[in-house]
């Protein structure tokens, strides 16, 4: 690193010599590495801008994004996106106003320009993803939706910032309820088993994350319980699930369930997939949360006991909130892998999620046999990268913020 260099660096040449060409071997490595990197980058840029035949994605964009969701109901998607943005903005505003009150806000003293830069830094992957998708749309609908969503987010953020403190719990409840309400609203048009495309992946991920979280926390608490039976059951479930590959569990839910449950009573495939993802992720979340519970100093529980709080209140007001906060990065990491693992539901259960969509469009008569694998897979990868990378960065940000004075 240049900051370890004692003498002041004298321009680019000196920097190059010191860092890349210090001796003949360094120089050779630099040259070879540079050539390989340049070649890869050149091929990549050429593929994206020149040789890539992106019309396969362009023509099938709808199929990729929301699959066979009926056109007449697509407005519901727009409504869902806008509502989600509004609630997200509200939550951000409330969080900000609480941070300002506590004096832990990091953006409070920023100039508007610096704040805009901060937002850009946070959401550029999302921006790039949305930009690419919008550039391929042929109707104004998606662009209008995104524009309205951005406005809704900004309005929500402003409103959340000036909301009286007694309404903050209402926002918290709304934030938790919104995903459920929106999922119900979207499913209302097509039923639970007709979700397809990227929308299905997001649906599987969001519902499983929401469900596995409380379940995982309870499993973690159960594994630390003093009751041997409860402890044994939780431990067995966690270790069984963690010992099986997710793909196998999905296959079992797809095929083996039929042996035990009569056809009419068996839930649909999407529901089965959610159950499997929920149990699978809950087992991992349980182990992560258990680590968080163990890392808590015993003084916290003692102080709560000394105040006369009941064991249940100590657990849910003192112990669990702190344990969860301490393991946010690991939890989000688990959720990111759950998001990506939703593609397994296509392979194992035949659900028409985005990866299966990419296979299906390659089989279309006008594109068949043209080796469009890079284009379709590249687009799917982009969608997942945007989601995963944004989640990862936001979790790091939350972690940093919680480190500011709240520890």
């Amino acid at each position: 690193m240049s900051r370890f260099v004692a003498e002041p660096s004298g321009g680019a040449i000196r920097w190059l010599r010191r860092n890349l060409f210090r001796n003949p071997i360094d120089g050779a490595v630099t040259v070879v590495g540079g050539v390989v990197a340049a070649w890869v980058i050149w091929r990549l840029v050429r593929f994206v801008l020149v040789t890539g035949r992106w019309e396969i994605v362009e023509v099938n964009l709808r199929l990729f994004m929301y699959g066979r969701y009926p056109e007449v109901h697509v407005l519901r998607l727009s409504v869902a996106v806008v509502v989600a943005a509004l609630v997200g903005g509200l939550v951000a505003g409330v969080v900000h106003s609480r941070q300002v009150r506590a004096g832990t806000s990091t953006v409070e003293r920023m100039t508007p320009a610096r704040r805009l830069l901060d937002l850009l830094e946070r959401f550029w992957p999302l921006g790039i993803g949305i930009g690419i998708i919008l550039s391929m749309t042929r109707t104004p609908g998606p662009t209008v939706t995104v524009a309205v969503a951005v406005i809704a987010a900004v309005l929500g953020r402003i409103a959340g910032g000036v909301l009286p403190r007694r309404l903050h719990p209402v926002v918290a409840i709304a934030a938790v309820a919104t995903p459920f309400v929106l999922i119900w609203y979207l499913a209302d048009a097509v039923g639970w088993n007709d979700w397809t495309g990227m929308m299905l992946n997001v649906f599987l991920a969001v519902s499983s994350i929401l469900l596995c979280f409380p379940f995982g926390v309870l499993l973690a608490l159960g594994r630390r319980s003093r009751l041997p039976l409860l402890r044994g059951m939780c431990t067995t479930l966690i270790e069984l699930v963690r010992g099986a590959p997710l793909y196998v569990l999905l296959l079992m839910a797809n095929v083996a369930l039929g042996f035990f449950v009569p056809q009419e009573l068996a839930p649909g495939k999407v529901v089965r997939a959610i159950v499997v993802f929920t149990i699978f992720t809950a087992a991992y979340v349980a182990e992560i949360v258990r680590g968080g519970l163990q890392s808590l100093p015993s003084g916290q529980e003692e102080a709560a006991k000394a105040l006369g709080l009941s064991p249940t209140r100590i657990t849910f007001l003192i112990v669990v909130p702190q344990a969860l906060r301490n393991v946010i990065p690991a939890e989000v990491g688990q959720f990111i892998s759950l998001f990506k693992d939703t593609t397994l539901a296509g392979a194992a259960m035949g659900l028409f999620e985005v990866l299966r969509v990419s296979e299906a469009v390659r089989a279309q008569p006008e594109f068949a046999g043209q080796n469009l694998l890079p284009e379709t897979l590249g687009f799917v990868a982009l969608l997942f990268w945007v989601g995963s990378y944004t989640m990862s960065r936001e979790s790091q940000r939350v972690e940093r913020k919680l480190g500011v004075g709240q520890r």
């Binding site: 004096g103 003084g299 916290q300 000394a306 105040l307 709080l309 909130p321 702190q322 709240q406 520890r407």
Partner: protein
């Protein structure tokens, strides 16, 4: 507690310095209390009686059982011999008894043990709202009054991590007071503090003593003991070696172990 019992306790106190009852009627009575951690005997046959509005300072070398003694009073440790009665309620395994005693005793810890995920105000209002079922507004009014009393009302909206050690310990005192306890237990409240912050905490504790709070204070602050204590208890090896007024204690200690200890720290 009958008058006869009280008379007996007082009598016992006159007979033996280690069983001396304080002024007024007793609020904490410990009789033959013992506690082991495996093979280690932390408390051995401890008798101690604390009167209402009395300030008892417990001193002694580390490992002598001072902290264990006060941690037994609110059942953070379970004593395995003898009996402990707090304000007429005997500590048993009955969770309701334990909860009642914990509601009536406030505790301040060496490491503050504030809840880092809650603001100062929420730290103070949590127990009154959850245990005493106070409404948020009433709880917050009371909390602000207490924060005034410990001289940090301006920090109410902050998180514990943003405060200095002395400020955190004063919040911890306010948090304990919010339950309107009849007894306050202090477990080395200034031992984890930087020297310049010790006095701000001791001053708050002195105010509290002057206001008539019953206090048991485990501390190494001899100045505080001399100035505020009604009685000083010296412990060693899990036993109470000597009990007496500060004057007696610092000017004319009777036991050799006490003299040795005082010569080491004074």
């Amino acid at each position: 507690m009958t008058e006869q019992d009280a008379a007996e306790v007082v009598e016992a106190g006159e007979a033996d310095a280690t069983k001396a009852a304080g002024p007024g009627d007793p609020i904490i009575e410990m009789e033959g209390v013992g506690k082991r951690f495996g093979d280690f005997v932390a408390l051995r046959d401890v008798d101690l009686c604390v009167g209402r509005r009395e300030v008892v300072v417990v001193i002694g070398p580390s490992g002598s059982g001072k902290s264990t003694l006060i941690r037994c009073i609110n059942r953070l440790e379970e004593h395995d011999a003898g009996r402990i009665v707090v304000d007429g309620v005997e500590l048993s395994n009955d969770i309701r008894n334990i909860q009642e005693i914990r509601r009536e005793t406030g505790m301040v810890f060496q490491q503050f043990n504030l809840f880092p995920h809650l603001t100062v105000l929420d730290n103070v209002t949590l127990a009154p709202r959850q245990v005493l079922k106070l409404r948020r507004r009433n709880a917050e009014e009371m909390a602000m009054a207490l924060l005034e009393r410990v001289r940090i009302p301006e920090q109410a909206a902050k998180y514990p991590g943003q405060l200095s050690g002395g400020q955190q310990q004063r919040v911890a005192i306010a948090r304990a007071l919010a339950m309107k306890p009849k007894v306050m237990l202090f477990d080395e409240p200034t031992s984890a503090l930087d020297p310049e912050m010790i006095n701000e905490v001791l001053d708050v504790m002195k105010d509290l003593a002057h206001d008539g709070m019953t206090m048991i204070v485990v501390t190494h602050e001899m100045g505080f003991a001399r100035e505020v204590a009604d009685r000083v208890v010296f412990m060693a090896d899990g036993q109470i070696v000597e009990v007496g007024t500060p004057e007696h204690f610092f000017l004319d200690p009777r036991e050799d172990r006490t003299k040795l200890f005082l010569s080491q720290i004074l």
